[in-house]
């Protein structure tokens, strides 16, 4: 049984989650709190497995709540209506989130995922990554990557490129590591395109900071700082040159 609490300043949102939770067998909502301070106190003796956490709670935020925790021993699912920047940060840190109004299927999927994650118990690292990314909007962002043996935390600026292998993606880093992730290249593209990454080819996403040389041709090809040579799709040539100049 997953023990969960809800932290949200709007009663109707609490009601909505409670309603959705009813139809899940192994999920129990122990309690709900409408302020951060209340919740911080309650966490101590509830020891929940899962927290549904709103981003904006009166004049505080869900991030403030996490910062106030001595140690994090629970999985977090953020709930938010539209905070664009926060969603980006969640994606980076591999922390789950639900968009309000919460759709039933999305809710079921999130609960199923959190059950898997509860087994890994990597809570604090992920939350630290999140808090790090929230405080440094443009600085050195970190990304959480689920791998076969658990989670890997990478500095975005250390990723040279990502290569697609059907539903898997291989990440190449500056310290010559290769990390295989069971996520599509598309998901990395949407995650990293704001961080100076560019998809030059159907199976290649590169960090533009590491482009060493561009050689002309139909689409041409780029040489990266680790001396890999990658073809640029002729359809992407123009956009690529625009991005790099």
């Amino acid at each position: 049984m997953i023990k969960a609490i809800i932290i949200d300043d709007e009663q109707h949102c609490i009601n909505a989650i409670k309603l959705l939770a009813k139809s899940v067998n192994n999920l129990e909502i122990i309690n709900a709190y409408t302020s951060v301070d209340e919740a911080v106190e309650a966490i101590e003796w509830h020891q929940p497995d899962l927290v549904f956490l709103d981003v904006q709670i009166h004049d505080k935020t869900g991030f403030d709540f996490l910062k106030m925790m001595k140690s994090i021993t629970f999985e977090v699912i953020f709930t938010t209506a539209h905070e664009e920047f926060a969603v980006q940060a969640f994606k980076f840190s591999a922390i789950d989130y639900l968009l309000k109004p919460i759709e039933e299927e999305d809710f079921m999927l999130a609960i199923a995922k959190s059950q898997e994650k509860l087994a890994i118990k990597d809570f604090s690292k992920k939350v630290n990554t999140l808090l790090n990314n929230i405080s440094k909007q443009d600085g050195s962002k970190k990304i959480t990557i689920p791998t076969a043996d658990g989670l890997e935390f990478l500095e975005v600026s250390n990723i040279i490129r990502c290569e697609a292998d059907i539903n898997y993606t291989t990440i190449f880093t500056t310290d010559r590591k290769k990390i295989l992730v069971s996520k599509t290249l598309k998901s990395f593209e949407s995650l990293l395109s704001n961080c100076n990454f560019f998809r030059i080819h159907n199976s290649h996403l590169i960090n533009l900071d590491f482009v060493k040389k561009y050689t002309k041709g139909k689409g041409g090809y780029v040489t990266l700082s680790d001396n890999t040579v990658i073809e640029v799709s002729s359809r992407k040539k123009e956009a690529f040159l625009k991005a790099i100049c």
């Binding site: 909505a16 309603l19 968009l99 109004p101 919460i102 759709e103 039933e104 999305d106 599509t184 598309k186 998809r199 080819h201 159907n202 900071d209 482009v211 040389k213 561009y214 050689t215 002309k216 799709s233 359809r235 992407k236 040159l241 790099i244 100049c245």
Partner: protein, 691 residues
Amino acid sequence: MRKFLTTLYSIILTCSVYSQQNKIDSLTHLLQKHKEEDSIRLKLLNNLSNYYESSDAHQGLIISNQAIALAHKLGQKDHLAQAYLNKAYNYIAVGKDSLALKLYYKSMAIYTSNNKIEGNATALYGIARVYQNWSDYNKAIKFYNKAYILFDSVGNTKNKAAMLNGIGICQMYSSNYPKALESYIKALNIYEKEKLNKTLDYANVLTNIGLIYNRMEHKLHQALEFFNKALIINKEKDYQIGIANILSNMANTHDNLNQPEKAIELQKEAFEMYEKIGNKLGMANALTNIGIAYTSIPDYEKTILYLQKTLPIYEELGNKNNLSLVKYYLGEAYLNLPSTKSNLKKAEKDLIQASIIAKETGNLEIEKETYFMLSKLHAKKGDYKSAFEINELAVILKDSLNSQNLKDEIVRLEVKYDYDKKAAITKTEHESKQALAKAEINRQKLIKKGAIFGGSTLFVLSFLGILLYIRKRDAEEQRQKAELNAKVSETELKALRAQMNPHFIFNALNSINDFISKNDAVSASKYLTKFAKIMRQILENSNQKEITLTEDLNLIEAYIQIEALRLNHKFTYTISIDPAIDTDNTLIPPLILQPFIENSIWHGISKKESVGHIHISLKKEDTMLVCIVEDDGLGNHASVINKNQKSLGQNITKTRIDIINKTKRTNGSVSNIPKEQGFCVEIKLPFQLAY
């Protein structure tokens, strides 16, 4: 990113005389026979020094000194001026430009006082050449123009063309390619009209056009064509310096074509020829080009080796333009060597010098490239702030060099050139007829008729002028119109995509209202949350021109599901996709199929008693993506036409496809396929891949 700056080139302007060893030999022979110090010997000396300029300039200087001494002795002013000119030519050939400049002015002073217009113009021309060598292009153009006017006044069309060539070179060096091309084409026209298209002067202009094309990525093969034509003429005349220049230029084109080995080979051949003639500028240029070619191999150590050799030569010659280019490439080479402190320091020093000199000479292209390189250097050093700031500078410069505009301008000029050529032919035909007519008139001595004829000629000419003007104006207008149309279509598409939103929102709101009025709160909530999710996706996608088929199908499915929910699962659906289509890599305008599916659901299936079925299939046919939306409902094509009640959504979609057809020159279409029961619509769209 490696961007080829057009590498150095050397252009020797038209010289009135070219190297011909047999002429030198015969003149030397004559001189030995003719020892008397008279004007005949003076003429011989002058001619000889002139011939030596292109084969042995040091000997040329000795001979011209003899000529000057003799001219003083004989008091022959005109010949003295000519001797000064010849000495200046020889000085230029050995790279002593400032000494040459003094002589040009001396010569000009004599010609002016004697009112010798042609000589005066020749001296002005020499002065222009020196300023050009010193990269002071504005001054050079001024002197070329002065010379042009003087040559024009004495009817020396050949030299007029030479001045246009010089002006073109200066414009080319100032990166004003359309203007340069215009000047060259004017020059070519003059030569062709005078039937001088086998001359070295003509070959020079061909070379220069080749040089402009050499700067355009997609015109490199054309550049080689022009160079080859010029090379043939130069070889026919055995003009060594010309051959060397063209070889060097061809080498640069091969470098741009990514054939550095071929480039180095040609460049070394050119270097040997320059060395033989004793042409320092040519030697330095060849060395520079070898250095640059090594960057494409890449072998930066060799690049530095060759480039370093050129610096003292350019400094001695005061050739700032080339100096800045060499410094730029030195900077690049050091930057590409392992990033040790000393290498970075050397790179920074050279690049900063390059940017200062380029700014001084007004060479925007080198200045821009230097900034990009400096920005890279700062990034390498980890100083991102400076890197960013310098990059900004480079981008501003790049905009001012806006290549697209230049390309358009060049296309327009080419059209004009062809047209002018044809116009010239008809004009000569016309002129010969006119000559005949004039003879007739003279015979009859009917002055009145002559006046009428003159008037009609004037009329024809002004008509031609107006025609030309209209052509030019129309071309300009059409270009602007096309640009405007593209913008309008883009905006229209955006507006249409935006219109889809309210259309969809209100349909959904009606459905929610329906649940509420039936007091079914759970269904209303379910429906609302699904609707919210779909709305989010639509908002994200509707400001994009195209999304991947995967994304679009997800959206379509979500849409069908909420409609199914609303109709209490009154229908089933299948989507079949041709295995030849990679949905992740195929682009489609967002939600283009939605209105047809909506039509099937609401006008076909909702009225049916039993469970209906909607089938969506996607196929690839040649260059088209064919989508078919089909149902087994009660609606039929005829009934819809009769009632004239096509949905707003379908009309919008048809307009969207029309605009896509217009802008992409495709033939997308929407057509109804008659069916016994139900609707069947076929939507054809251009098949587009993302990568």
